[in-house]
């Protein structure tokens, strides 16, 4: 085995291979930084280029890019509060508040370092487990996988901040949103309203970008000014390194959680990083700072999201079953070379496996270094008035969301969820449990379904299930009786805000939630048998919680929102309107013309930029979009009036 490892390592002495790896790392870094584009986009975009390469070079390119996406996506998450990829949403929670407090450098260096270490631990684990990985994976049947998912869901309980009731409700809403679409086994289409788009459910990218991205962009725009005061990135770099050294335990645990989330089918990077975040909060003795800029909240998910990708390789290479969506595309690439991953891979293509492992390790290191090198410059973006940054970010998000499935539905969903996310933020509803619920619905439901239809009720008696069940009980016990979070008053910079909209909107919003949940419950009575379990499990408790919350809201002291807050709200709604307008323009005139119009009008009209710089800005963005599309053969959304 070690011979093969050395032979594979020798490949990297070849400058051609190193150049490919560098190309992959650069591509991955850029794609990671662009909001909404993650590992899937990365591999999909590079795929057309590999068809002329030999298999080793191709894998070096693909793995090189994949290994750094979750390092560089941190930059966007921390600086702009918009997840660089769906998996980076957990980093937003604490990373972005740190940036607002002028500690961007600290957050970034801690994130890069823990990403790097997480990736390397993942690599080592991947290497060591090669001989035993197959039996290890086979140890986990559907019932055990189900219990793991439920355990992950229970972590949502730790993420409710100071509002357990709202947090629980948010988690239920996430579950409900996750059950939109065909139930596993296609038995029934739930909440699809006859829309084909909804059959497969709402894509994760749209949800993460809406709930965190759009909401944050609108909020920042309404606030005006820049993201952070110009106080310099300062000596924070070293502080970040110290933080990682101090919290080395979190790094190790986080990366192991990540590796496992990768190895087990159906869990993926996003769930992995949330589970890691949840475990950090659960195990912390003081939880007051989480969501307001606790460095541990950055280290946890960051150490997990890189190692997930390493773990992903195990089912992909040894079983021919992709551990996550990017791995599925890698699998496709391997098929293209006539390599069928599977049990024989270790015997027949061991050197290829090691090429992949080395690429991953080397790219990880290069990526962390590159990000460290880039971030002082990128961090300056937080000093730029945000209104000037926003158009470029919005265009990227829209284009990225459209590319994932080429359907406008993704953009509708993103905008709708953006409004929801913004409201949740303004009304003090934690958004983390919402995303955890959403991410874990599909696998949980799938494994519940499989467990019941294969074993009946007997699955509850399997030893693995009992062990995991005890863990689950301990976790629930800890949530209920563990140290309470204390006073927990969200501060100005925190991701999960205080109630800013006043009493009436608060009551109205909860009432709306109540109505939606009740309607969903009513609708679910027509779902057969297992298809109804999940919607009911989400809606029945939610109804009671919503009712209780309405009472709480109504009893809360009436505080008229300050005039400034009212102005901000009006502004925010205006910005929402401008996003909707952009969508309408795309629908009418197609992406190209709409983008040019939107950027120019936004800059000239709203941001009060002079007309000449606005024109140049518009030209540069549209030009870049044209260049990218021409290079990569991307398709532009076309309009009704002017399309072709």
């Amino acid at each position: 085995m070690w011979d093969a490892a050395l032979i594979a390592l020798e490949r990297f002495a070849n400058p051609h291979h190193m150049a490919m790896l560098t190309a992959g790392v650069v591509a991955g870094t850029v794609i990671g930084i662009l909001p909404g584009l993650g590992g899937i986009a990365c591999v999909a975009i590079l795929l057309p280029f590999i068809y002329t390469l030999d298999v080793h070079t191709a894998m070096i390119l693909l793995v090189g890019s994949l290994a750094v996406v979750h390092t560089s996506d941190t930059i966007t998450s921390v600086l702009i509060g918009t997840p660089g990829s769906a998996a980076a949403a957990a980093t937003v929670l604490d990373g972005h508040p740190l940036a607002k407090q002028g500690q961007a450098a600290r957050a970034l260096s801690a994130a890069f370092l823990s990403s790097l270490i997480g990736g390397l631990i993942g690599t080592v684990f991947l290497t060591l487990s090669l001989p035993i990985a197959r039996p290890l994976v086979l140890l986990f049947g559907s019932p055990e996988l189900l219990m793991l998912c439920v355990l992950g869901l229970s972590f949502a309980g730790f993420l409710t901040g100071g509002a357990p009731l709202k947090g629980g409700l948010a988690a239920c809403l996430g579950l409900l949103l996750g059950s939109v679409g065909s139930a596993p086994a296609d038995a029934v289409d739930r909440y699809t309203f006859g829309q084909l788009y909804l059959l497969d459910g709402i894509p994760l990218v749209g949800v993460a970008l809406g709930i965190f991205g759009i909401a944050e962009i609108v909020d920042l725009l309404a606030k005006g000014g820049q993201i952070a005061e110009r106080i310099g990135l300062g000596s924070g770099w070293l502080q970040g390194v110290k933080d990682v050294v101090q919290h080395w335990g979190i790094v190790v645990r986080g990366s192991l959680i990540g590796v496992w989330a990768g190895i087990l089918p159906g869990i993926g990077a996003t769930a992995g990083s949330w589970m890691s975040y949840g475990h950090v909060v659960a195990m912390a003795s003081d939880r007051e700072r989480f969501g307001k800029g606790d460095i541990r909240g950055v280290i946890g998910p960051e150490s997990a999201n890189n190692s997930v990708e390493a773990g992903d390789f195990i089912p992909t290479l040894l079983f021919g079953v992709p551990g996550g969506a990017p791995a599925a595309i890698m699998l496709g690439a391997l098929y293209f070379y006539g390599i069928q991953p599977g049990p024989r891979m270790v015997q027949e293509n061991l050197d290829l496996i090691f090429t992949i492992i080395w690429s991953f390790a080397i790219a990880n290191t290069m990526g962390a270094a590159l990000c460290l090198f880039l971030s002082p410059a990128l961090a300056r973006l937080t000093w730029v008035p945000f209104a000037k940054l926003a158009p470029a970010i919005v265009v990227t998000i829209f284009f990225g969301a459209f590319q994932s499935s080429q359907q406008f539905g993704d953009i509708y969903a993103m905008l709708g969820l953006g409004l929801l996310g913004w409201l949740m933020k303004q009304l003090g509803w934690p958004r983390a449990p919402f995303l955890v619920g959403f991410v874990l619905t599909k696998p949980t439901e799938q494994y519940l379904w499989l467990s019941i239809s294969r074993y009946g009720a007997e699955w509850l008696l399997r030893p693995g299930v009992i062990v995991l069940g005890l863990l689950l009980l301990a976790s629930i016990f800890w949530i209920v009786f563990g140290k309470r979070a204390g006073e927990n008053i969200p501060g100005e910079e925190s991701t999960e805000g205080a109630i800013r909209l006043g009493k009436v909107p608060s009551v109205l919003f909860t009432l709306l939630v109540f109505v939606v949940v009740a309607a969903a419950l009513y609708e679910s009575r027509s779902f057969p048998y297992l298809g109804a379990i999940f919607p009911m499990a989400a809606t029945i408790p939610a109804i009671f919680m919503a009712a209780a919350q309405i009472v709480l809201d109504a009893r809360a002291p009436r505080e008229a929102p300050e005039i400034e807050e009212r102005k901000k709200t009006r502004l925010a709604l205006g910005y929402f309107f401008s996003l909707v307008l952009y969508l309408l323009l795309i629908l009418l005139f197609g992406f190209g013309i709409a983008t040019a119009l939107f950027i120019f009008v936004f800059l000239y009209g709203w941001a009060r930029m002079a007309w000449f710089p606005s024109l140049i800005y518009t030209g540069v963005v549209v030009g870049l979009a044209v260049l990218m599309s021409w290079l990569l053969g991307l398709y532009w959304p076309q309009g009704v009036l002017l399309g072709q």
Binding site: A185, G320, L331, G332, S453, R454
Partner: protein
């Protein structure tokens, strides 16, 4: 063809030579200006990147680019989701008679039509098949099921089969169980055949099927270790539309052969009718590249000629063997009748299937 034979390996040098050569050879032809010269053909794939159909077209496209006069460039658009229907509709609505938009389809796109899904408002009769690629399926059991030979199936108890959905490809094995009257239960909800195979390996299920390429790569090693027993193939169609043994696994009996072995008579009845309707679109004509029927005749012709050339191209055969599953890339015009027939279903069989599936697997049809 001489050009193609020249292309041994992917060395840049020979690559460049070929480009030069093709320019040289193309020069006299330029006078006639091939239809596709300097044009880009857009291929709609109603599935996500790196799905089976996506890999299929992306693999053969470079060879088509080389073998179609004028060397057009292929671009790909993946319109995923919605059971493939949005992608199909996009082609149905957007394709002009210029032959610059083509469509890749797979079994997932045929089943909604066969099952009478109202959302599937596309009509295959308005399109013409350019290229067709069959694929096969092989069933196998685990020793734990106490099935040693295919004859033992009849008395086997508690067979568990892992599938994705009763209205997808799994319909074929599920109908096979009914046809052969087996004590088998489908456990549905896996996200892919690969996941179902893992469940088979860990003993959660004990009877399974894989498409022939996956069978060769992942199940043959299991058979060698004694962890799986090959049973039967779903078969392929011969020129007159009869179900015959699969050339990729010629030693395995087909489903109708197994029926005869177990029951001692030729298969008949409603389940057999259903099998005959659904098997071809699931396997025998699974991957099809389509063009609008009113596309220029030359556009169709160049694709057919390209298929003829690729058939004799050793490099193509070797390089794409694993992806095409060892089956030839067939000319669409030769199979047109078979294909259009495969998408016909009589109202009675349709009603029967829907009833059967909704009763046993709780599928709700609109």
């Amino acid at each position: 063809m001489r050009i193609v034979r020249f292309m041994a390996g992917w060395q840049i040098r020979s690559y460049l030579t070929v480009i030069g050569l093709s320019f040289a050879l193309a020069a006299p032809v330029l006078a006639a200006a091939p239809y596709y010269e300097g044009k880009t053909i857009e291929a709609i794939i109603p599935f996500p990147v790196a799905g089976g159909s996506d890999i299929w077209i992306r693999t053969i496209a470079p060879y088509l680019e080389k073998n179609i006069p004028g060397n057009p460039k292929f671009n790909f658009r993946n319109i995923a989701g919605g059971r493939g229907i949005p992608g199909m509709m996009e082609f149905a609505l957007k394709a002009k008679p210029d032959g610059l938009l083509v469509l890749v389809s797979s079994a997932t796109n045929y089943f909604p039509v066969l099952l009478g899904d109202k959302a599937a408002k596309y009509d295959f009769r308005q399109w013409k098949p350019l290229l067709v690629n069959p694929v096969g399926g092989v069933m196998y059991a685990s020793p734990a099921s106490r099935v040693k030979r295919v004859e033992d199936l009849a008395k086997a108890k508690d067979l568990f089969y892992g599938g994705i959905s009763a209205i997808g490809l799994d319909l074929i094995p599920l109908i096979t169980f009914e046809l052969l009257d087996l004590d088998a239960k489908g456990v549905l909800g896996f996200r892919g055949r690969g996941e179902a195979r893992i469940a088979f390996e860990r003993g959660e299920t004990n009877i399974d099927y894989q498409t022939t390429p996956a069978y060769n790569a992942t199940v043959l090693p299991l058979i060698k270790e004694g962890k799986a027993i090959p049973l039967m193939s779903f078969g392929q169609l011969d020129d007159s539309g009869n179900i015959v043994r699969d050339p990729a696994v010629p030693d395995l009996p087909t489903v109708p052969e197994v029926y005869e072995k177990i029951k001692g008579k030729k298969p008949s009845g409603k389940f057999w009718e259903t099998y005959k309707v659904f098997m071809p679109s699931a396997f025998a004509v699974q991957k099809i590249l389509w063009i609008k029927a009113d596309a220029p005749a030359e556009a169709l012709r160049v694709f057919y000629t390209a298929a003829d050339r690729l058939e004799k191209d050793k490099e193509f055969t070797v390089k794409t063997e694993k992806i095409l599953g060892g089956y030839p890339l067939l000319r669409g015009d030769r199979l047109e009748k078979t294909i259009q027939q495969a998408f016909q279903i009589d109202a009675e069989t349709q009603r029967f299937v829907k009833e059967c599936v909704s009763k046993k697997y709780r599928v709700k049809f609109d």
